[in-house]
């Protein structure tokens, strides 16, 4: 029988700390914290020794010092970690093209179809761990399951330096005894609400009637229960470099029928997507528009204008054209969800025109710099602002 548990979550164990220990072996066995030591510094990574004192990632450094006064605190040195991170992702890509990087030290990989070449998912997981140990000199933990959600919980459970496979069909049983906070997507606020309902474990969450969860969490209630049962979309977004896409989606609380409002959302999405493109130094060749009409009819339309698209105006113009045509085609029905994506990502470059002296995108660069510093809302287009009340003069 074909093994359907082909999704691996591979997570480097205390990556930054592990990298520091590679060049400072004398610190092995001691509590080590990587993070900026200043007054506003936070913990990036703590060694397992430091974690025993209660030190956690994202904790203020001052608090970490209180908990673990003997810890060695090292500032992060990204230029030392980056080559190892690249080597890590390269190892994963040698087993399957479907690798979805989550961060420098964490990725999903779907090995469906790789079995004939490399063996069962568990064998591949073991091989990946061995190669990371041999080629980089650090350890990784691997979770294997039918979907990303369960694979992620499994790798957390396997840590440090372990491998855990959840056989197909046993997802709910595997999750049941764990605290709700172990479930990705359950934050402190959700956990607090659940605690108020007397729910502590994922199994208890799964047993709650959907209607109760919906009353508490709205639309997300049903989703929460499905996740507690280990049911989640299966695949790994095939993230071949360059085949990535950047997108934004918005689901309306009430189905939207105003063209003006829909276009305003599209414009704001174009702004965000353009910012992401600029951050990644990429340009798009294709714009994808997504529309959902209630209840579940979803359509996508795309256009490839034959030139590089860099800026919000360019993305918006193309998307707005797609929107007009697609919306018309569907009888201008109310829209549940609207989304704008950039695909066909390429190197960002601009053909200069004869007689032009380049001051390329000076305005866009300035806006991006402001947003990097103060957040997306610091500067917005007038069209993104809520309109005046209907009775305004």
């Amino acid at each position: 029988m074909v093994d359907t548990a082909t999704v691996l979550h591979v997570d480097l164990d205390a990556f930054f700390v592990a990298m520091e220990l590679l060049r400072r072996p004398e610190l092995r066995g001691r509590p080590v914290i990587v993070g900026y030591p200043g007054p506003r510094g936070v913990v990036s990574t703590a060694s397992y020794e430091a974690r025993r004192f209660g030190v956690r990632s994202a904790m203020p450094m001052a608090r970490a010092r209180e908990l673990c006064p003997g810890a060695v605190i090292l500032p992060p040195d990204f230029s030392w970690y980056a080559p190892a991170s690249r080597a890590f992702h390269a190892i994963l890509r040698s087993y399957s093209p479907a690798v979805e990087p989550v961060s420098v030290d964490e990725a999903y990989i779907d090995v469906a179809g790789s079995e004939r070449l490399f063996g069962t998912p568990a064998e591949i997981g073991a091989a990946i761990r061995e190669r990371i140990r041999a080629e980089i000199g650090i350890t990784a933990s691997v979770g294997i399951a039918v979907n990303r959600l369960v694979a992620k919980v499994a790798s957390d459970a396997a840590k440090p330096d372990g491998l855990l496979r959840v056989p197909p069909g046993e997802e709910a049983a595997f999750l049941a005894p764990r605290p709700v906070r172990d479930l990705p997507g359950v934050g402190r606020r959700t956990a607090d609400v659940l605690a108020g309902l007397g729910i502590a474990t994922i199994g208890e969450l799964a047993a709650v009637p959907e209607s109760v969860l919906e009353a508490k969490f709205g639309r997300h209630g049903a989703d929460l229960r499905r996740r507690a049962l280990g049911i989640a979309p299966g695949g790994v977004a095939s993230a071949l470099p360059g085949r990535r896409s950047i997108s934004r989606e918005h689901t309306f609380d009430r189905d939207e029928r105003s063209a003006e409002r829909l276009r305003a959302v599209l414009l704001s999405q174009a702004e965000r997507v353009a910012d992401d493109l600029a951050r990644q130094q990429r340009a798009a060749r294709t714009v994808v528009l997504k529309l959902r009409f209630p209840p579940f009819e979803t359509i996508t339309r795309s256009a490839t204008p034959g030139r590089q698209l860099l800026f919000a105006d360019e993305l918006y113009d193309t998307a707005a054209g797609l929107f007009e045509a697609a919306w018309e085609e569907h009888g201008r029905r109310p829209v549940r969800l609207i989304g704008l994506g950039a695909a066909g990502l390429t190197e960002r470059a601009r053909q200069l025109a004869l007689g032009e002296t380049p001051a390329p995108g000076a305005l866009h660069d300035a806006v991006l710099a402001l947003r990097e510093r103060y957040g997306d809302a610091v500067i917005r287009r007038a069209a993104e602002l809520p309109g005046p009340p209907a009775d305004a003069p």
Partner: protein
């Protein structure tokens, strides 16, 4: 009409005028070719209203007359006939054409030849005589730089200018500029400045082929049409009205870096890089390093695409001035290299965000007069 003509002559004549037949005709008759007797010859004509071509074919005219039939049909048909005498016969109305050749007999429904658009004959106006080889070469080095979209109509044409024993052709699409000179044996009687559709010149160059017969150009006194005539062929094109940009200021006189390299080697490396560039953003990067201590200078040509990979090629080059780098659209770079033939090319530049100037040069690096090509670079992160 009743004429006899050799199959191969008729086929060649139809192929020539066929270049002007409208492909998407708004009025049906311009998908046709006109066949008409004229002074003991068979006159073939086609037009798409922008460009018209007339060719005369040697024939034995038994009865003068005219007819007009769908160009594609008669082209395909005649091309498949055996090499023998073809007899063409049409009634006085011209509404049917009967074709006999060897043991093949056919009739084609024809239209009224009186409805076929009249093709202008330009007898007056300023005239220029060209050596066909020089004209063809200048057209080929310039026309590809003309714009293909209609947003600025003047840029879809080639600017022709002469006020002496020299005619200058120029084309620009907003990103690149090509300028070629043709030496004339005689100065035209008056100054010339017109814009000829690039497509007309492209067809002209194709039709001239390897003919050795001089080509005469005539521009009508209203400056609205141009005629090219050679051998037994005439082409008439509508001139583009408007003012061509003053391009001389776009050709920099100064440079900080000048590189000279073998054209064929450069072309080969650019072609290889283009394979990688086409899946990315179409960028080819050039890095020029002057030689040191008796070592030759170097040109590095590279391209990469996220999904595919990367490529880097190196060539020996003579690099004068500063080490420098510049990135070009792969097509623009290949286009200019392709028209330079073999030999050597100089690339002059001042900065990665200013014009790259390509000139063919001789063994000693002296620019060959009469051609310059300016390409704007791509603004990239290095």
């Amino acid at each position: 009409m009743k004429v006899q003509v050799l199959q191969e002559n008729l086929q060649r004549g139809l192929a020539i005028v066929g270049r002007a037949v409208a492909t998407r005709a708004t009025i049906p008759i311009i998908s046709n070719v006109l066949l008409q007797t004229e002074e003991g010859k068979l006159r073939l004509a086609a037009t798409d209203l922008d460009i018209s071509i007339v060719a005369w074919v040697g024939a034995k005219v038994d009865e003068p007359g005219a007819t007009t039939v769908p160009a594609r049909l008669i082209n395909d048909f005649v091309a498949n006939l055996p090499a023998a005498t073809v007899s063409l016969e049409a009634p006085a109305s011209g509404r049917q054409l009967r074709i006999e050749c060897a043991r093949n007999d056919s009739t084609i429904n024809a239209m009224d030849p009186a409805d076929f658009p009249r093709i202008a004959e330009i007898r007056d106006g300023v005239a220029v005589k060209f050596d066909p080889k020089a004209l063809k070469r200048a057209i080929e080095r310039v026309e590809f730089a003309a714009a293909t979209d209609d947003s600025r109509p003047v840029l879809t044409g080639v600017h022709l200018k002469s006020d002496g024993p020299r005619l200058t052709l120029a084309a620009a699409d907003g990103f690149r500029l090509a300028v070629a000179d043709i030496q004339l044996e005689e100065s035209p009687a008056e100054a010339i400045e017109v814009i000829v559709p690039a497509r007309a010149l492209r067809e002209l160059s194709r039709l001239i082929g390897d003919s050795n017969l001089p080509v005469e150009m005539r521009i009508n006194p209203q400056r609205s049409q141009v005629l090219f005539e050679w051998d037994e062929v005439q082409m008439v094109a509508q001139l583009i009205q408007g003012t061509f940009p003053n391009y001389n200021q776009l050709i920099p006189a100064q440079f900080n870096t000048r590189m000279i390299v073998d054209v064929d080697e450069f072309k080969r490396e650019a072609r290889i890089a283009a394979i990688f560039a086409r899946d990315g953003s179409g960028i080819i990067r050039l890095i020029m390093t002057p030689g040191e201590g008796g070592m030759p200078g170097q040109l590095t040509i590279s391209a990469r695409a996220d999904e595919v990979g990367g490529n880097e090629g190196k060539l020996d080059a003579l690099v004068e001035g500063d080490a420098s780098r510049i990135a070009f659209n792969s097509r623009y770079l290949q286009d200019v290299l392709n028209v330079l033939g073999s030999g050597r090319v100089a690339l002059e530049m001042t900065s990665p965000s200013a014009q790259g100037v390509f000139r063919p040069v001789d063994e000693n690096g002296v620019p060959e007069p009469g051609y310059v090509h300016v390409v704007m670079p791509m603004f990239v992160q290095w």
